[in-house]
């Protein structure tokens, strides 16, 4: 017990754990910490991804508990800055993962926080490019967005838009389905009625992609409309295998958190990290599975 007390404590603050990606992240982090064996982890999450206030409370609680480092996937790129600045002032090392904190706001407070994470925009473009190539110029597509205002959703849409511009696709409609399968199913069925000539769908996450696939099936258009997703959850794998989903992007959540913890331990060890440590992403298609 004595040895454990001396181990540095790292707080891992995530967004909603009610989400496969963050759950993988948490489990990867726990596994990694066990492997490392030289630190203690406090994993924390909020109840919904919009609960910014709740996440600030988590940071405040970690400051109270005087942890040595905080690894955080911020629910908002600006609102978390002021509590994180307070943490920095309390001598806590900080690592930013998943969603990039706002650089200007950080600069204003004269703090630098290393970012360890994937590029959501780039990933979305990778996935969309597969669709674009399959459809060719002029292909008619629609987008299903994540929660309006959610940073990763916004970045993914930007990636989709870039691909659309580059390959000169025809964007018919873009709507939110709030990351949800059932809503995606409903919204897409209705989009399909309004635009029966849809050829491709870009979904902001795999949960929505599944809903879209089922809507296509129900409309009797199986195989006629191509779908891409994002996240690489387990449930999407069979759909990729049988061709109902063209591609998705795996951000390796488990690895992401582990890298974040490694960065934090380096900081605790006296190193100063800055900038963006990009983590790998993998495009998954029928060929790669």
């Amino acid at each position: 017990a004595w040895a454990q007390l001396k181990k540095p404590v790292v707080g891992l603050v995530m967004k909603s754990l009610a989400n496969e990606f963050f759950k993988n992240m948490q489990e990867g982090a726990l596994r990694h910490v066990e492997e490392r064996g030289d630190c203690t982890l406090i994993p924390l999450g909020i109840q919904s991804e919009t609960d910014i206030d709740g996440q600030i409370a988590l940071v405040e609680n970690l400051i109270t508990r005087k942890v040595d480092a905080i690894v955080i996937a911020p629910a908002d790129s600006r609102a978390l800055i002021s509590p994180l600045v307070r943490a920095a002032k309390a001598g806590i090392k900080l690592v930013n993962i998943d969603v990039l904190l706002d650089a200007n706001a950080l600069k204003k407070h004269h703090v630098e926080i290393v970012f360890v994470g994937p590029d959501n925009k780039e990933g979305a473009k990778m996935s969309a490019d597969v669709l674009a190539k399959a459809l060719g110029a002029g292909g008619k597509v629609v987008i299903l967005e994540g929660n309006p205002g959610a940073a990763n959703g916004v970045q993914r849409k930007e990636g989709f838009m870039e691909s659309i511009a580059q390959y000169k696709l025809d964007l018919l409609d873009s709507r939110t389905a709030h990351w949800e399968t059932e809503e995606a199913n409903t919204v897409f069925s209705n989009m399909l009625t309004a635009h029966p000539d849809i050829q491709g769908v870009m979904a902001g996450n795999d949960d929505m992609a599944i809903g879209v696939v089922k809507a296509i099936e129900a409309a009797g258009k199986k195989g006629q409309i191509k779908v891409i997703g994002f996240d690489g959850i387990a449930a999407i794998q069979p759909l990729i295998k049988n061709g109902e989903v063209l591609a998705t992007v795996d951000q390796f959540g488990a690895q992401l958190a582990a890298d974040g913890i490694d960065a934090a331990m380096k900081e605790i060890g006296g190193q100063t990290l800055t900038g963006w440590v990009k983590t790998p992403m993998k495009l998954e298609t029928a060929a790669t599975i």
Partner: protein, 323 residues
């Protein structure tokens, strides 16, 4: 007799009020969005309202008896993940797995419903707060059971069921309608239904007439839970997955359908026919606005306005009818 028939006329007028609103909406969308009245779209709408219709049918029981159930969305997730687990157990024949899954979902739904009913009526505390607690318990439980992961790979026969149609009408919708019809019979023709209305109006008078409202209340909430379990099965068959975060906010949609349908939130007044119309209004609105190409944010605003307008119009008509 004259009062009896005039009461009937008034009741029909009451439900027709919402029916007229629905009709107006349908006429509007048919004119504004050419795709609206296609056969495929109507079939889509029927599919899309099915889950809400089932939940709202169950919710009508809770509301009629003077309660409310905020936990339906979360309990639905719990039902789904439990059923999902059972459906994907190794080494079981398909029919057995399906039977187990369905039974599991219904059992979980009814269990949670009974707990809601028992706690709120035995302790005399508002079901609003009990079901708010249950919402958290069920959601946390669903997440804990699955560790936040999606369950998939259900038997094919189960999944096929989700998109089956008879004569072009989705089977799921037909089932929902049959359930609604059964619910209507129970509410209007049985002693249990009579007790639900009476308790919703004046629980004390029912108790002092030598009844035990507790049992009826527990049963009513159990029925609500039963419908939640059924909705979970329909959801899974249609989307071929079960995840612990499904159903967020479904309770509000179901409650809206019930209230737009003219059922009184304070209990004792209303009917399942109204609930059917209420669910239809919500579904048609969502569908029609997307077909018209209304943007997401405006769509949300319009939905809010229509929810209020539907109830205001109904109240206005009732005022006119009263003279």
């Amino acid at each position: 007799m004259s009062s009896s028939s005039s009461a009937t006329v008034r009741r029909i007028l009451r439900e027709a009020g919402i029916g007229l609103a629905l009709l107006a909406m349908i006429v509007f969308f048919a004119a504004a969005a050419p795709d609206f009245s296609t056969h495929e779209n109507i079939s889509n709408i029927l599919t899309q309202i099915t889950i809400n219709l089932i939940l709202a049918t169950g919710m009508t029981f809770a509301i009629l008896i003077g309660g409310i159930d905020l936990s339906v969305g979360a309990v639905m997730a719990l039902c789904a993940v439990v059923a999902g687990r059972l459906l994907t157990l190794d080494g079981m024949s398909e029919p057995l797995a399906v039977a187990l899954g369905v039974a599991g979902s219904l059992a979980v739904g009814m269990g949670c419903g009974a707990a809601n009913g028992w706690i709120s009526s035995f302790w005399g505390i508002p079901s609003f707060i009990v079901t708010l607690g249950m919402l958290n318990i069920a959601r946390g439980g669903a997440l804990q059971v699955t560790n936040a992961r999606t369950i998939y790979d259900f038997p094919d026969s189960f999944n096929a069921f989700g998109t089956a149609t008879v004569l072009g009408v989705p089977v799921m919708f037909v089932i929902a309608l049959v359930l609604l019809g059964l619910g209507w019979l129970v509410l209007t023709r049985t002693v249990f239904g009579r007790m639900i209305y009476a308790i919703g109006n004046n629980e004390e008078a029912v108790r002092l007439s030598g009844h035990r409202p507790l049992l009826t209340k527990v049963l009513a909430f159990t029925v609500t839970g039963l419908f939640v379990g059924i909705a979970a099965i329909v959801y899974m068959a249609r989307l071929t997955i079960a995840n612990p975060i499904l159903g967020v906010g479904f309770e509000l949609n179901a409650i809206a359908a019930v209230i737009i349908g003219g059922t009184s939130l304070s209990g004792g007044r209303g009917s399942l026919i109204g609930t059917l119309l209420g669910a239809a209004i919500i579904g048609v609105l969502a569908n029609g606005l997307i077909l018209m190409g209304v943007s997401d944010f405006i769509r949300q605003i319009v939905t809010g306005v229509v929810i209020i307008l539907a109830v205001v119009l109904d109240s206005y008509r009732a005022r006119l009818a009263r003279g």
